[in-house]
């Protein structure tokens, strides 16, 4: 019988640890800029945020209102992203959103959404364990992403707070634009190692830093 243990914190759990460790181990071998200031590409894993997949019908205004009453944030339009100081909402398809919460707050939020949407055609699913985020910034952030994705990332075509649900390096990923040369990639846990490895490899020519 194992003695009761306090519920572990998720703060240290990384979906990309294997490659981050390999990257750190390889630092002395050269190729990479070792500090954020000199790197053309700066990568950072935002570990263990809460992720809620939300589906409601695209014409169900009452459901939108119900969601807003819970989140305090109106659901964004297609391919848009909205944030306040706590939450981020992303619209993937006419009937599908992703809500990102601070770590550990997803469970209560899910329960509140399910209650608020009880009378609506809806599906609120916890995808926290299946999702992680990698931010890509630095002077060559866009150059890096252009190696592995087909969508148009140029400022003229892709403004801040827009997103693409697409592929990076043949793995499914969502690219959110925070600003010029500033992106967040939302990736599935099982592909996270692959994408981290790809980013470290592709970033080499610009100097890459995993902070």
């Amino acid at each position: 019988m194992v003695n009761a243990v306090t519920t572990p914190s998720t703060a240290g759990v990384s979906a990309m640890q294997a490659n981050i460790d390999a990257y750190r181990a390889g630092l002395s071998a050269g190729h990479s800029a070792t500090d954020v200031d000199r790197a053309g590409v700066v990568l950072q894993e935002k570990k263990c945020l809460g992720y809620i997949n939300l589906r409601v019908k695209d014409d169900d205004q009452a459901a939108f209102d119900a969601v807003k009453s819970v989140l305090g944030l109106a659901l964004p339009a297609l391919s848009q992203c909205v944030s306040d100081d706590k939450l981020t909402g992303l619209c993937y398809s006419p009937s599908e959103w992703l809500v990102i919460t601070p770590s550990g707050e997803e469970t209560a939020m899910i329960a509140a959404l399910q209650t608020a949407l009880a009378e609506h055609h809806s599906l609120v699913a916890d995808v926290t364990g299946g999702t992680t985020m990698l931010t890509v910034s630095g002077a060559h952030a866009q150059d890096l992403l252009e190696k592995g994705t087909y969508v148009d990332l140029h400022d003229q075509a892709f403004a801040a707070n827009q997103l693409y649900a697409t592929q990076i390096a043949h793995a499914p990923a969502t690219i959110v634009k925070n600003g010029s040369n500033d992106f967040s990639l939302i990736v599935r846990r099982s592909f996270a190692n692959h994408i981290a490895e790809w980013a470290l490899d592709g970033g080499r020519e610009f100097g890459v830093c995993f902070s």
Partner: protein, 1006 residues
């Protein structure tokens, strides 16, 4: 000893005489300058013979200046970075470059096979097809020898050490070609602020102007180019890509381009060698220019015979004096400038031989003023020379209709013959995705039929590509194209137009072959395609033998089949075919243009999608634990799954035996996180799920689980798995590991396209849950020690039920599902805690010697129970009845595939059906995939009865077990059937039930 560059002019050219570069060619050392191509450096060193021809092994020299080069096809570099078949005309010279000829054995100057030329009458079109077909079986032997004797370079055998990248960009305007038209277009388009990309295959922008002595708006050509490039470089919205070949156009202005980032050394030390650009352009401006053609006359392949543009190029751009005595042979005005260029460079120009009786336009006076004699209405009919190449040409007068030669032969001493047969616009990109071409009667060439572009309103054509050969007109077309592409009016475009002084031009005249009185076949060889040694006689013969389509003629004669794709000779060949067929050239048409315009390295196509990046690798939350514990992995779909965990030097068989026995005897644990998991919710969820599966799901109670089969519309099994009912309107279904993505889109497809009225939503939660399967008689004890808030007794927690609870405070969902026949539970947890949960279970299981096991043991355990694996025991042609799973097909319900499943053919009792097999020799394991026959003795073709789908040695049972699809197998229990093996032996085996172990299912409840 390094030779001096004896053919280098003392001044001029776009080379840097301050930077000498050493290189070797066929083992001999030479020196060139920064700015040289390999071809210009070789010519500067007086290397006239650079290769041997493919079929006749004739000496060949540099013929062209760029992408069109058919002869100077060399092996460049050494070791792992060596590249075969490089056009010396497009290889930038670097210090230490090593090059050699790709054919010519043992050396270019002494070729053992050159004697073949003596038998060339035997080597006519279709020679290989006709001669080496007897006896038929010997072709493979012949083929090998023929390829050895010809050969076109060697691929490196080592792994390419270089770094290649891919780049995906979007452009408002993509301009291909930075000659005068392309530059004018780019400058016009750049002002809009829209995203403009301009690419050109040459080292520098400027196109043909780089060899020109023309003035534009009073500026020398090079200064004008520099001015345009400076203007463009100052625009943030413009990307300039020199050294970048647009090699393919695909649908919707998707253009593939190859950038040669670093070509200044063989050893790049990690620098990117090449980048493959994928450009998606809204507007496309093609300004790809034109390629000069040769002319066909006797022995027109001698080193020293070159395209007129190439002669001017080597003189003006590279300051290479190609020889002492020049002659020009032409059917148009442009080559007259080459005569002037030669004379200015200090060569003696003995003659311009012009097939046109009227000679040239106003440029003729300039030429004659230099003392150059023009033979108007004459043709070169033969050449003579020695080991180093051309020594003299023989010319004769032509009749008025150019159908006969007349008068006395005149021999003219020369070592350079500049030829021009007119220009072929580079219509390749336009044609790649189906654009048609039309014949330009005045300029005698195919030009793009603009209305047939893939996106005709968004594609613009400018310059020589349109058979517009005057610099002034190219400027005008470029400007108009640039303005049109940014949606601006071209009405007032004429105003700000630089002044260009140009000659009045006399029209080009058709001259496709020399009208020998004895006919082409009995006259000296007239080559059309240098790289494949295709002559006028070959084309004539092909037509004579009945070939009519130019595509067939091409394949029979190999015209245009080389790595140069016949850029200099195709049109001439088509014209010869047309003449022989009695048709007009446009009636014969061109062969199909396909990417790539010039060859692209595999390295660039692969980019960084090599090794572990070839395909995404998916890992579970417990992956690092498996690695730390020495697991061997197998790839399932894109997932890496533990295959088995060898201990202390165990073989795979030993490890699997240990794992299997441990599970049956006590308890094992398996990482089952990879199964697909989809939540299905909505008021129609039950109805929807019921339609997906063959068996009924409407009445599945909340809290219960059920196994189900999914079929395609054709009634064949596509997936299986267990579905849980979370609530009346909420299901949670498992798919196979490999089928998850397909089943998710399959369900979305039905919901969105067929049953939009159904209220049902799906979300994939595959990655959210980490799943540890705890399997074996002691699994209950392990979980009881971990989880206090679930009653694990059979009464409280029955097979095919699930419960939510907590382990050490973490919420878990535990399902009683078994893929082994043993008592088993699957513990699901938020994957962030997946590894933690796995470790807790491992720790708790130590009391029972819990054994982690991989997919191989999972396969053996399930096979002992006769459980199928979709995709292993099925192949898309297997229905539920074939699997003896009719019990899983609802009789009173509808489901996808049900109508197909009722077709007569699906109910035949002689279909291949899944059965078990046990071998007579219990130790013998039949290889998976092995075929089955009814008798030990058989003749080929044998009466095949089926094949093995799964096969293992069962340590639990002490004998081998196999599953097989056998014709009518379910009615053949107890029959003996044989499996012939590749080594000639035969394995005797008996058909049995596929449930080998615990047929009554007594182990399920522990």
């Amino acid at each position: 000893m390094r030779e001096k560059m004896t053919y280098r002019l003392p001044a001029g050219g776009l080379i840097d005489r301050g930077q000498a570069l050493r290189f070797t060619f066929n083992g001999k050392s030479y020196t060139g300058y920064e700015g040289d191509t390999l071809a210009s450096a070789l010519l500067a060193n007086g290397v006239h013979v650079v290769g041997r021809s493919f079929k006749y092994h004739r000496r060949r020299g540099v013929f062209g200046l760029g992408a069109e080069e058919p002869n100077a096809i060399l092996q460049v570099g050494t070791g792992a970075t060596t590249l075969p078949n490089q056009r010396a005309t497009q290889v930038r010279l670097y210090d230490g470059l090593v090059a050699s000829t790709v054919n010519g054995f043992p050396s270019v100057n002494f070729d053992l096979y050159a004697g073949l030329g003596l038998f060339s009458k035997m080597l006519s079109a279709g020679f290989y097809y006709k001669t080496f077909m007897w006896p038929k079986s010997a072709w493979h032997w012949y083929e090998e020898k023929i390829r050895d004797s010809a050969g076109l370079g060697l691929s490196p055998t080592e792994i390419d050490p270089d770094h290649y990248e891919h780049k995906n960009v979007h452009a408002d305007v993509l301009i291909v070609g930075a000659g005068v038209a392309g530059l004018a277009a780019a400058v016009a388009a750049a002002k809009s602020g829209k995203r403009v990309i301009i690419a050109d295959e040459q080292e520098q922008f400027g196109g043909a102007l780089l060899s020109s002595s023309q003035k534009i708006g009073g500026l020398p050509a090079l200064d004008w180019i520099a001015q345009q490039v400076e203007t463009l470089a100052a625009c943030d919205n413009v990307t300039l890509l020199p050294k970048t070949t647009a090699f393919g156009q695909y649908d919707h202005h998707f253009v593939a381009m190859l950038e040669r980032n670093a070509d200044d050394s063989e050893h790049l030390d990690g620098r990117v060698r090449q980048t493959l650009w994928h450009v998606r352009a809204k507007k496309l401006i093609l300004a790809t220019g034109a390629i000069e053609r040769g002319l066909s006359f006797g022995n027109n392949d001698r080193p020293g015979v070159m395209l007129a543009t190439a002669v001017s190029g080597y003189l003006n751009r590279y300051a290479v004096k190609l020889g002492e005595h020049g002659v020009v042979f032409t059917n148009n005005d442009s080559a007259y400038q080459t005569a002037i260029d030669m004379q200015r460079a200090g060569m003696q120009v003995a003659a311009i031989v012009d097939v046109r009786a009227g000679g040239a336009g106003s440029i003729q006076k300039s030429v004659e003023a230099l003392g150059i004699k023009v033979y108007a209405g004459y043709a070169v009919v033969n050449t003579a020379g020695g080991r180093k190449g051309l020594e003299r040409v023989r010319i004769k007068a032509l009749s008025a209709d150019k159908k006969a030669l007349s008068g006395e032969k005149i021999d003219i001493h020369c070592d350079v013959l500049a030829v021009s047969g007119g220009y072929s616009p580079a219509i390749h990109l336009h044609s790649h995705c189906g654009g048609k071409n039309r014949w330009h009667d005045a300029q005698l060439c195919f030009v793009p039929d603009i209305s047939t572009a893939t996106l005709p309103d968004d594609t613009f054509y400018a310059g020589a590509l349109n058979a517009t050969f005057s610099t002034r007109d190219c400027l005008r077309e470029g400007l108009r194209a640039g303005l049109a592409a940014i949606g601006e009016s071209t009405e007032n475009a004429e105003g700000n137009f630089p002044h260009v002084v140009e000659h009045e031009v006399a029209a080009i005249e058709a001259y496709w072959q020399t009208p020998y009185a004895k006919g082409a076949a009995r006259s000296p060889k007239q080559f059309l395609d240098y790289q494949n040694d295709t002559c006028v006689t070959d084309v004539n013969q092909a037509v004579g033998e009945g070939f009519e389509s130019i595509e067939h003629i091409k394949r029979y004669t190999a015209l245009g089949f080389g790595t140069d794709q016949g850029k200099t000779g195709n049109i001439n060949g088509m014209a010869v075919a047309a003449e022989k067929l009695g048709k007009a050239i446009p009636e014969v048409g061109t062969t199909t243009f396909r990417p790539a315009y010039t060859p692209v390295t595999f390295g660039a196509l692969a980019g960084r999608e090599i090794g572990k990046r070839f395909d995404p690798v998916r890992t579970t939350a417990m992956h690092t634990w498996h690695v730390e514990h020495g697991a061997e992995f197998e790839t399932v779909g894109q997932w890496l799954r533990p295959w088995y965990y060898p201990k202390d030097g165990e073989t795979m068989e030993e490890a699997v035996a240990r794992e299997c026995l441990a599970v049956r005897a006590s308890v094992g644990m398996l990482d089952a996180s990879t199964l697909g998991k989809i939540e299905v919710k909505g008021k129609d969820a039950a109805k929807f799920v019921d339609m997906m599966y063959t068996n009924p799901f409407l009445k599945l109670a909340v809290g219960k689980a059920r196994y189900g089969l999914m079929l395609g519309e054709d009634g064949m099994v596509i997936d299986d798995g267990v579905a849980l009912r979370l609530a009346d309107d909420h299901y949670y279904i498992h798919t196979t590991t490999g089928g998850a993505a397909h089943i998710f889109s399959w369900m979305e497809r039905w919901a969105q396209t067929e049953w939009p009225e159904m209220e049902v939503f799906f979300t994939s939660v595959t990655d959210h849950w980490a799943t540890t399967a705890v399997v074996g008689p002691k699994s209950r004890a392990v979980l009881e020690s971990l989880c206090q808030d679930i009653d694990f007794s059979n009464e409280a927690f029955a097979f095919m039920e699930f419960k939510d609870g907590t382990i050490n405070g973490l919420p878990v969902r535990i399902c009683r599902i078994s893929f082994s026949g043993e008592l088993a539970y699957e513990v699901n947890v938020n994957a962030n805690h997946g590894r933690q949960m796995w470790e807790w279970i491992y720790e708790a299981g130590q009391a029972y010697d819990i054994t982690p096991y991989g997919t191989e043991t999972m396969h053996v355990l399930r096979a002992e129970k006769g459980y199928v694996i979709i995709g292993q025991d099925t192949d898309g042609s297997v229905n539920p009845h074939d699997l003896a799973m009719s019990w899983c097909v609802g009789k009173k319900k509808e489901f996808i595939g049900d109508r197909s499943l009722k077709r007569q053919d699906m109910l035949r009792d002689d279909r291949k059906q899944l059965v078990g097999l046990v071998t007579t020799d219990p130790k013998q394991v039949i290889p998976e995939g092995a075929q089955l026959v009814n008798t030990r003795e058989f003749s080929i073709p044998a009466d095949m009865q089926g094949h093995i789908t799964s096969s293992y040695y069962s340590h639990t049972l002490g004998h081998s077990i196999a599953m097989a699809l056998v014709k009518g197998g379910l009615k053949r229990m107890g029959e003996t059937i044989y499996s012939p093996q590749p080594d000639g032996s035969t394995i005797e085996t008996k058909i049995v039930s596929s449930v080998f172990y615990d047929e009554k299912g007594e182990r399920r409840d522990g």
